[in-house]
Amino acid sequence: MDYLYSYLILSEIYVLLGLSTNLLVGVVGIFSVSQAAVFGVGAYIVGDFLLSGTLSFLPAVAVAAVACIALNVLITLPSLRVAGDYFVVTSFGIQLLATATFTNWTWGTGGANGMPGVPPPDLFGMQISSTRGILAVSTVAAALGCLAFWLILRAPFGRLLKAIREDELAVAAAGKGVLRAKVSAAALAGAFAGVAGGVYATYLSFIDPTSFDLDASILLLTMVVVGGARTLWGSVLGPFLLLALPQLLTLIAIPTTYAATMQQLVYGALLIAFALFRPQGLLGERL
C-alpha cells in the first residue's frame, strides 16, 4: 500500500513538472533540457527554509515559486531574442551549471551528500507526516496545476501561444506582443516547477543533486513527448506511464546497479521512436 502511495505522490509531482515542460516545449515550442534545474532550485529553497525553521510550508513554497518564475524567465529570455538553436546551448549550459552548483555549493545545498532531514509539510500549524496526508497535498497541488493548464489552453492566452508557436512574425504583424506572451508562459512554467520542488523535498525529506540533473531533465522531456504536447491529458498520462517503467524493469530482473542506466536507455529510445513515428505522442497534438 505504501508502495502505491509513493508511486501516486511521485507521479503527481511529475504531473506538475510535465505541465511545466509541456508549456515551454509543447505550447511555446522551445527546446528545453533545463526544467529539472528549475525544479531543483524550488526543492532546495523549500528545504532550506523548512530546515532552518524560518518559514512554514506554504510561504516557503510561495517563495520557491517566485524564485523559479524569475529563474525560468531569465533562462528563457535568450530564446526570445536569439535563434532557436542557440537556446539549446543556453539550456544545456544552465542545466550543467545548476548541477555544478547543487553539487559544489555545500553551504546552501549540502553538496553531493545531499540535504537530509527536510521536515514534512505543515498546513495551518499542523504537521502532515502520514503518507496519506502528503498524498492529499500532492493531489491538491497537481489538481490545481491541471486546472490552471486547462484554463490557460482554452483562454485567449492559449490561442495566442499556439499562434506564436506556428508563426511568431505573423503574430507580431497582427499587433500582438510576442515577447510578453512568451515570458508569461515561461513564468507559469517556472511556478509549476517551483511548487513541484517544494512538495518533492518535503515528501522525500532527502534531496540530492542526482534528482535534478540532465537525466532528470531528459525524463521530463520524455514525459511530454510520450504523453503528447499541448494537451492536459498528455501531461497527466506521461508521468504516470514513465514512472511505472522502473517497476516494469524490476520485473525482468535487471541488476539494480544497471537500473538507472537501463531507464535512461529506454527514455532515449522512446524519444527517438516518438520523434520518428508519433510526434503527437499518445494523447497530444503534433510537436
Binding site: V25, G29, F31, V33, P78, R81, V82, G84, D85, Y86, V88, V89, T90, F92, G93, I94, L96, L97, A100, T103, N104, L214, I218, L221, V225, Y258, T261, M262, Q264, L265, Y267, G268, A269, L270, L271, I272, F274, A275, L276, P279, L287
Partner: protein, 286 residues
C-alpha cells in the same frame, strides 16, 4: 611557471575541443541539424579504441578502427534518423529531441556494456611525462596537440582546396541551389556526417588516453565546442577552432582564482557575453 603550464594544458585540451567544434560546425552549417548526438559519437570513439587496444591491436590501428566505427554511426544517424525526419517535414524541435534521444541511447549503452566507472587506457607511452623547458606534458597531450592541429590543417585544405570540399560548402551556402545543380544534398549530408564523425573520433580517443573514459563524458566538451562555434561565427571553421582554444585557455587560467568545479561557469559566462554583445560571433560571414 604555473601560469605557463596552465596555458600549455589549455592549448592541448583546446585543440581537442577545437576539433569537436570544427566537426560540429561542419555538420551544423551543411545539414542545419543541431547534432547533439555528436557528443555520443565522440564518446563511442574512445570506447571502441579502448576495446581494440585491450584486444591487443596496436594503438594506431585501434585509432583507425575507432574512426571507422564512428563513421558508420554518424552516417547511420544521418541516413536513418535525420533524413527520414527531414522527409516528413519534422519541426526543428522534433529533430533536436531525436538527437537528444540518440545521445541518451549511446551513452547508456556504453554505460551498460562498459560500466559507468572511469576506464584508463593501458598504453604506457600515453602517461610518459616529457619535460620541455620547464613544461611537463604527457605523451597523450603531445599526441593530442600534434594530431588535432594536423586534423585542423587537413579540414582547412579539404574545405577550401578540394572539389568535394567546395561542393560541401556550396550545399551549406544554398541547399536549394545545390539541389537544382545536381549536387545531391542528401548524399553530401551523409558524407559530411561521416567525415565529421571520423574527425571527432580523434579527440574522442586522444583525450581519454590522458584522463580516462566515461560514458557521460561527452556533453560538457560538446557544450564548450558549440559555444566556440557560435562565438567564432557560424560558417567559420577557423573561428570555431581558435575560439575553442581561447575558451579552454581561459578556463584553465581561471583555475588560478577559482576551483575547477566551476569551470563550466566560466565557459557559460563567455557564452552569455557573446550573446549580449556579439550574437553573430567574431568571424561570421555575411
Amino acid at each position: 611557471m604555473l601560469l605557463l603550464q596552465l596555458l600549455a594544458n589549455g592549448i592541448v585540451t583546446g585543440s581537442a575541443l577545437g576539433i569537436v567544434a570544427v566537426s560540429f560546425a561542419l555538420i551544423y552549417s551543411t545539414t542545419r541539424v543541431f547534432h547533439v548526438a555528436h557528443a555520443g559519437v565522440f564518446t563511442l570513439g574512445g570506447y571502441l579504441a579502448w576495446s581494440l587496444v585491450r584486444a591487443g591491436v596496436p594503438d594506431l590501428l585501434a585509432l583507425a578502427g575507432a574512426m571507422a566505427g564512428c563513421v558508420v554511426l554518424g552516417a547511420a544517424i544521418q541516413r536513418f534518423l535525420y533524413a527520414p525526419l527531414e522527409r516528413r517535414g519534422a519541426a526543428q524541435l522534433v529533430v533536436l529531441i531525436a538527437s537528444l534521444g540518440t545521445l541518451a541511447v549511446i551513452q547508456n549503452l556504453l554505460a551498460a556494456v562498459y560500466s559507468p566507472d572511469i576506464l584508463q587506457f593501458p598504453s604506457a607511452w600515453a602517461g610518459h611525462v616529457f619535460g620541455l623547458g620547464g613544461l611537463r606534458l604527457t605523451g597523450a597531450q603531445l599526441a593530442t596537440v600534434g594530431v588535432d592541429f594536423a586534423a585542423f590543417g587537413w579540414v582547412m585544405w579539404f574545405a577550401h582546396g578540394t572539389l568535394l570540399g567546395k561542393r560541401i560548402r556550396a550545399v551549406a551556402a544554398n541547399p536549394f541551389l545545390a539541389e537544382i545543380t545536381r549536387l545531391e544534398p542528401r548524399r553530401v549530408h551523409v558524407l559530411v556526417m561521416a567525415i565529421a564523425s571520423a574527425l571527432v573520433c580523434l579527440p574522442g580517443v586522444l583525450g581519454p588516453l590522458d584522463y580516462g573514459l566515461q560514458p557521460y563524458g561527452g556533453v560538457t566538451p560538446l557544450l564548450t565546442a558549440t559555444i566556440a562555434m557560435i562565438a567564432g561565427g557560424i560558417g567559420s571553421l577557423a573561428g570555431a577552432f581558435f575560439l575553442a582554444i581561447a575558451i579552454v585557455v581561459l578556463q584553465n587560467l581561471s583555475l588560478l582564482v577559482m576551483p575547477g568545479e566551476w569551470s563550466i561557469g566560466v565557459t557559460f559566462a563567455i557564452f552569455i557575453v557573446f550573446m549580449l554583445f556579439r550574437p553573430r560571433g567574431l568571424f561570421a560571414s555575411g
